[in-house]
């Protein structure tokens, strides 16, 4: 491959966004290869991620690394000298950050998917409840782990900031689609302030997908999910 580092991605994917933010923070030069995921998955994608056939995949010196959390840890280990560390260096703080990342991927993220996919009022209400519970826990976690600093990771954007932050545009889109408020300033003042700081970070401003474009994409996702369910 022409460049030493390649990223197989999808512009709308929050998981891919995590890796892009991390690559920018590390100042790593890379080639971005947009993938088709609905039909016609590329040979390269199927070869690089035969188990899950999904993005992101980081290809470094022709070696593929899959799964965003694993990619971010890999990046810290390989490009440790470039830019600030993504994961906390203290083992306990790292375990706490990993705990919340795992929570976001296992509980919070799926509740957002539930809000896109939900067909009945009950389904949407249940998903919204789970999402809001997640935000309550994350508001508390932010208070505990940031200790008054700007980000979850401290002075700089870190692992948990990247993982939660990469879902912000999707949260906005879902709020509009469902006519609900998830990130409520009254309920979650710390997270709201954190979100503003995160969005304002130069690297994030550059990479965050456009809300309008993402809304169109979300509608397409919904339509496809409904069609698949109907079959």
């Amino acid at each position: 491959m022409a460049k030493e580092v390649n990223l197989l991605g999808l512009w709308a994917s929050p998981f891919v966004l995590r890796v892009q933010i991390a690559l920018e923070l590390k100042g790593v030069s890379y080639e971005y290869l947009e993938q088709q995921l609905w039909e016609n998955k590329s040979e390269l994608l199927l070869r690089s991620n035969p188990v899950y056939k999904r993005v992101p995949v980081l290809i470094h010196k022709d070696q593929p690394i899959c799964e965003s959390a694993i990619i971010l840890q890999y990046m810290d280990e390989v490009w440790g000298a470039c830019g600030p560390a993504i994961l906390p260096s203290d083992p306990y703080e790292r375990a706490i950050a990993c705990f919340w990342v795992s929570y976001i991927d296992d509980k919070f993220g799926p509740s957002l998917v539930g809000l896109i996919r939900g067909k009945t009022d009950e389904e949407n209400a249940a998903a919204a409840e789970q999402a809001i519970l997640g935000l309550e826990l994350l508001e508390e976690a932010y208070e505990k782990s940031s200790r008054g600093k700007r980000f979850f990771g401290g002075d700089d954007v870190g692992y948990l900031d990247i993982v939660l932050g990469s879902s912000l545009r999707w949260i906005e889109v879902i709020e509009i689609m469902r006519g609900i408020k998830l990130l409520d300033n009254a309920k979650f003042p710390l997270l709201m302030a954190w979100a503003e700081r995160f969005r304002a970070a130069a690297v994030v401003k550059k990479l965050m997908p456009e809300a309008g474009k993402l809304m169109e994409y979300a509608k397409e996702v919904q339509a496809r999910m409904n069609a698949a369910a109907a079959n």
């Binding site: 690394i65 799964e67 694993i70 840890q73 280990e77 083992p91 375990a95 706490i96 705990f99 826990l137």
Partner: protein, 222 residues
């Protein structure tokens, strides 16, 4: 990290995740206190240590709790990094180990619940899918990590061996429910070799004396 003083594991005798942490601590030679939790009647202490999930295992190190078995395993590996490292040194090899560890949690764990929570034809199908996932794991390990020695990624037991052996009793239990042998030596030689070698480790053989957990199954008894 400074010298650790106090290590306490909150677990449950039948929890494979608890067993994984026992194994990890034993392999590292860590002295720890064990608290058996009654999961039908959860203690105030457990609820305050793991308010998010209210589950075991929880490892408490110098008063600070860590929950979620995979996170605990990596934490233990980092804190006691000089004894029996669980991960290779090379970042790409480490990424591959982590990938398959995550595969276990993403595919085999839900697969196990699918067997447990179903019956009849549905359970039979769930068991078949579980075996399919084990084969994917076996073939993935062969392609990515296997170096021809008894343990999955080296001469010494590592993260994947701990996860697999920790789950051994659970595999037996699930196999019993489904009426099939989930782990077959012929189809899964790497997985079975790891399980066989693990129960022979001194640190593991001596465990049943110290803690009220069932002795590990005899080699390839699944």
């Amino acid at each position: 990290m400074e010298e650790v003083k106090e290590v306490k594991l909150h677990g449950y005798v039948k929890s494979g995740y608890s067993t994984m942490v026992h194994y990890a601590l034993r392999l590292k030679g860590v002295c720890y206190e064990y608290v058996e939790e009654d999961l039908k009647n959860k203690s105030e202490e457990l609820l305050s240590l793991n308010p998010v999930y209210k589950k075991v295992p929880v490892l408490v190190v110098d008063g600070r709790p860590i929950a979620e078995s995979l996170i605990i395993l990596e934490f233990v590996d980092e804190v006691w990094k000089d004894n029996n490292p669980f991960l290779p040194q090379d970042p790409y090899e480490r990424a591959k180990v982590r990938f398959w560890a995550q595969f276990f949690y993403q595919k085999l764990v839900p697969g196990g619940y699918a067997i447990r929570n179903s019956e009849g034809e549905a359970r039979k199908k769930a068991a078949e899918e579980f075996v399919d996932s084990l084969i994917i794991l076996e073939e993935g390990l062969r392609k990515d990590l296997y170096t021809g020695v008894p343990f999955i990624h080296g001469e010494r037991p590592g993260l994947l061996d701990v996860i697999l052996s920790g789950s051994h009793s659970t595999f037996n239990y699930l196999g019993g429910l489904a009426g099939v042998k989930l782990l077959e030596k012929e189809r899964m030689p790497i997985l079975c070799s790891s399980l066989d070698a693990f129960v022979e480790l001194d640190a593991i053989k001596s465990m049943a004396q110290d803690f009220k957990i069932p002795k590990p199954p005899a080699p390839s008894a699944a």
